[in-house]
Amino acid sequence: MKFGVVVFPGSNCDHDTHHALGTVLKQPVEFIWHQSQQVNGFDAIILPGGFSYGDYLRTGAIARFSPVMRAVEKFARGGGLVLGVCNGFQMLLEAGLLPGAVLRNHGLRFICRHVHIRVENTETPFTCAATPGQILKIPIAHSDGSYFCDEATLADLERNGQIIFRYTTSDGRPDGRDDAAGNPNGAIANIAGISNREGNVAGLMPHPERAVEAALGSADGQVIFRSMIETLVRQVGVSA
């Protein structure tokens, strides 16, 4: 089993993701340069956070045209696991691998803090190790993180269980009554993360790689990576 962490010009959570997977979770992990034409040999791809291409033009808008993104798209269409974190999530939206877009935060400022998100669907490769309704404490760090989509898309997302994480409070109730209070950026329907309909591509604004060690304030992010590992272990042809 091997994880690949793509390095774009301006990625700045690539090392953190590598550390989380390699050092903390003891998984084989390698960097993939953005000029790479293929992602052969990898079982899961992570698009890390940062400011790819300075986020000039629009977050993720230039990165999606990197050569590696064609390979990532092919990998995703073939059922490979792809996780986009923060800037990586924005790239997946720009690339059309996930529906919707992100807007500037409601407060129009960069926000870095721990937030709470509730796992809304545990039947995905990114959440299967979580318990239904589990609340995770994970940091955010972004200025463009307010997820948005049109009514029809939102209804689709709801119907297909594609909304996998919602912002909530530390003791947020499953009925969602507290979610708006925990929403840091004004995201529609308090959405923090979604998957594609097939479930093999997911993106979220919070940074799970920053929450894998208790010494840094939370290890709740581990459950997302552990879910991916469990999924890969189950898949035929991949051994732990």
Binding site: N12, H19, S143
Partner: protein
């Protein structure tokens, strides 16, 4: 020598317009043995500006202690370097970007961060943390500024915060702390001091010394434009007038994305082993980097400006040499291996061009399309600039301001306490901190709100580094020597409260015009204070910068030395925060000096406190006595207690006094509070709000109390259990009387929301 063409005949008037005095101009003529041409004049004027040459401060800076067992590199390089064990070293420095941040707050602050980051990775170190020390004019009415000034101060603060955040967040370095203070004297001259810390392998450090005749000189990074020309000489080395806003073209524009690429490319190029020397192009750009590298290497450098990547057409040699375009580096590679270096920059899609080579003979020779346009001996240009022993004179004795009168018995101290907590200097800086990514790189063990110092782990080892930056203009204005000593002591104490042993320091010296004898006296006094304190506390100065001419329309800022102290934790897991941890824990007051209850009441000291200023409108009196031996005892004691993991929290006593210290430890703990009981002969206000050095409040489980008291006694520190951590109301009794009693939330609310309310910015989703 070929006669250099001069389009413009240089006169003493033109030299004066370039900021060179008649004496300095004569020196230029003597070094050259002829009149300079306009390009050469420009080069001399920036290199000999106050900002680059330290001509007024050099004679004083020599008095600072710069050596220590762990110091690998003191002042003189791009940054200081200290050994942190296990083959690793810490590289750190603080620098000012004051004037640009007033003229254009966002870009001024952003490029301040960019500049100090380059200083760090130029040495081969990866930046792992940034801290900022900021000073603004009042952001609230009735605090000594006009309505218009208040509005402008808010705009400046907002721009500076956004600028720092925008640069650091994009670059990918956590902004982990700092401090913000407000005084009317900073209304027209805010201070933006940025400190950066990096780590490198001890045997993989790089220096800026051009060696090896014939080695190629390679320009890398951003293209050169017309921005920032004369930033160092006209902006940083002159006081402000009403026309200062017109200096906006002198402010550089930053591109953090490009700097991030430059970081990765430089570190990768260094790993090839083909890089001989490297220096960033900051103040005075290409001029400074070429002549300093040649001077340090006792070599010469010859470059052709036609090869310099340019983003504008028709730039003159003068403009190219003086441009302060950001995100550029100059490096010397090993001849024959330049391809390896160039390939790395190509990979990162950065310009990298061989623009010249290292030469023998010590000359800086600048060609333009093969035509010689400047020829200056590098060493005299870089190192033999003017040095001034400017006259010193203590300021005329200040008129006696009214002293604080202690309130009569029965005054509502709880209400006063609430007001004190809402003072901008004391109030929560959460609104600011949240706009900085303080977590990226996943090393931040103690974040800016959680401890007296930020604690950053070094992943490759079991160690961690602690950093704090402190200054106190209010006290330095009254007594620059004592104020400066307090600044060093507070930074060191903060580092010790986090459990780290202070090992080295960096300083940013913000003062008015050196041409005023009173300002030079303040400077000299502050240097003496810093030197004495650094000697006593074992924290040699490894670098920093001097910022003079911080005055507008003839009014100087308070003398404001800001001190960054670096500490080392051998065991990262022993790092301490300031938050109370468990109900029932004992609260212990540690005093390196004699217990305050035994100290004679010093009304004049109380008059210089934040309480006196906020509640009584008085800013006078004297600076609390400094006792460096007491500070050292307290620091040693705190480090020993943390090392054996006896404590649950530690927080020093500083602005606002003991009551504020206790409140902050409560606020950080979510639901925990303090219930303490004090006794003494002084009025209650002094006991609660008086400010003194060498004190800290620590907590420990009741079972560990005896051990904590015993260790304190070993170190000669007075330790007294004064109460306990509770889940109830915040309570302080004094001599058996309940003097402060409130629900914690009623104290927390004004503290937590004051800054946003003051800025009129309370908006957005919470």
């Amino acid at each position: 020598m070929a006669v250099l063409e001069t389009e413009i005949k240089i006169t003493p008037e033109i030299a004066a317009e370039h900021g060179l005095t008649p004496g300095e101009y004569a020196r230029v003529q003597k070094i050259l043995g002829r009149d300079p041409n306009i390009t050469e004049l420009g080069i001399f004027s920036v290199m000999w500006s106050e900002h680059c040459s330290y001509k007024s401060s050099k004679v004083h800076l020599k008095r600072l202690p710069t050596r220590g067992a762990q110091v690998l590199q003191g002042p003189g390089e791009n940054a200081g370097v200290v050994d942190i064990g296990d083959g690793w070293c810490a590289v750190f420095k603080i620098e000012s970007h004051n004037h640009p941040s007033f003229v254009e707050p966002f870009q001024g602050a952003a490029t301040g961060v960019g500049g100090i980051l380059r200083d760090i990775f130029t040495m081969g170190a990866r930046p792992i943390a940034v801290l900022d020390s900021l000073r603004f004019g009042p952001i609230t009415e009735n605090a000594g500024a006009t309505h218009e000034e208040v509005l402008r101060n808010r705009r400046i603060l907002d721009g500076v915060i956004r600028g720092i955040g925008s640069y650091g967040n994009c670059f990918g370095v956590p902004t982990v702390g700092g401090e913000v203070q407000f005084e009317p004297c900073y209304s027209n001259n805010p201070l933006v001091n940025a400190l950066a810390l990096g780590i490198a392998k001890k045997d993989q450090l790089f220096f800026a010394s051009a060696r090896g005749t014939g080695n190629p000189v390679i320009y890398v990074g951003a293209k050169t434009g017309r921005d920032g020309i004369h930033g160092a000489s006209l902006l940083a080395s002159a006081e402000f007038t009403e026309e200062s806003q017109q200096k906006r073209p002198n402010v550089q524009v930053g591109d953090p994305f490009l700097e991030k690429l430059l970081l990765e490319a430089c570190l990768e190029a260094m790993r090839t082993g083909a890089v001989v020397a490297i220096q960033d192009m900051g103040a005075a750009g290409l001029t400074c980097s070429t002549c300093e590298m040649a001077s340090r290497g006792s070599t010469g450098i010859e470059i052709d400006l036609a090869r310099v990547p340019q983003r504008e057409t028709g730039m003159t040699p003068y403009e190219i040499m003086l441009s302060e375009s950001q995100e550029r580096m100059l490096l010397v590679a090993e001849r024959g291996r330049e391809r390896e270096v160039l390939d790395v920059f190509k990979k990162w899609e950065l310009d990298a061009v061989e623009i010249g080579c290292v030469t023998e003979g010590g000359l800086l020779r600048i060609l333009d399309h093969g035509r010689l346009v400047a020829e200056i001996p590098a060493h005299p240009l870089a190192e033999e600039g003017p040095v001034y022993e400017r006259p010193l004179a203590p300021p005329a004795a200040r008129r006696d301001a009214p002293m604080a009168q202690f309130l009569a018995e029965g005054a509502n101290l709880t209400e006063n306490f609430r007001k004190l907590l809402a003072a901008p200097a004391i109030a929560s800086k959460h609104w600011i901190i949240e706009q900085y990514d303080h977590m990226v790189r996943t090393n931040t063990l103690v974040n800016p709100e959680a401890g007296d110092a930020a604690v950053i782990r070094v992943k490759e080892t079991n160690r961690a580094l602690a950093l704090s930056v402190d200054g106190n203009g209010r006290w330095c204005q009254i007594d620059p020597r004592a104020g400066a000593m307090h600044a060093v002591a507070e930074a060191a104490r903060n580092v010790a409260c986090s459990g780290a042993r202070p090992i080295a320091a960096t300083n940013c010296l913000n003062f008015g015009s050196p041409e005023k004898p009173e300002v030079m006296w303040q400077f000299s006094q502050a240097i003496d204070g810093i030197g004495e304190a650094c000697n006593a506390l074992g924290t040699p100065i490894t670098g920093g910068n001097v910022s003079f001419y911080n005055e507008t329309l003839g009014r100087s800022i308070f003398p404001t030395p800001t001190i960054g102290v670096l500490g080392l934790l051998d065991d990262a897991s022993s790092a301490l925060g300031l938050a109370f941890r468990s109900p029932g824990d004992a609260i212990v007051l540690l005093e390196g000096c004699p217990p305050w209850s035994a100290v004679n009441l010093l009304q004049c000291e109380f008059s210089s406190s934040e309480y006196a200023r906020t509640l009584l409108g008085i800013s006078a009196g004297s600076v609390p006595a400094v006792d460096l031996a007491a500070e050292k005892r307290l620091i040693d004691c705190l480090v020993a207690l943390a090392a054996e993991k006896s404590l649950h929290s530690a927080h020093d006593l500083s602005d606002g006094g003991l009551a504020v210290t206790l409140a902050e430890s409560s606020f950080a703990a979510h639901g925990l509070s303090a219930d303490v009981s004090l006794e003494g002969a002084a009025p209650a206000e002094y006991a609660l709000f008086g400010e003194r050095g060498a004190c800290a409040v620590v907590t420990c489980p009741p079972a560990a109390l005896a051990r904590v008291l015993a260790i304190a006694a070993q170190y000669g520190v007075n330790a007294r259990a004064i109460g306990s951590v509770t889940q109830g109301d915040f309570r302080i009794q004094y001599n058996g009387q309940l003097v402060v009693a409130a629900r914690l939330e009623s104290l927390r609310e004004p503290w937590a929301t004051s800054l946003e309310r003051a800025l009129g910015l309370k908006q957005g989703v919470q």
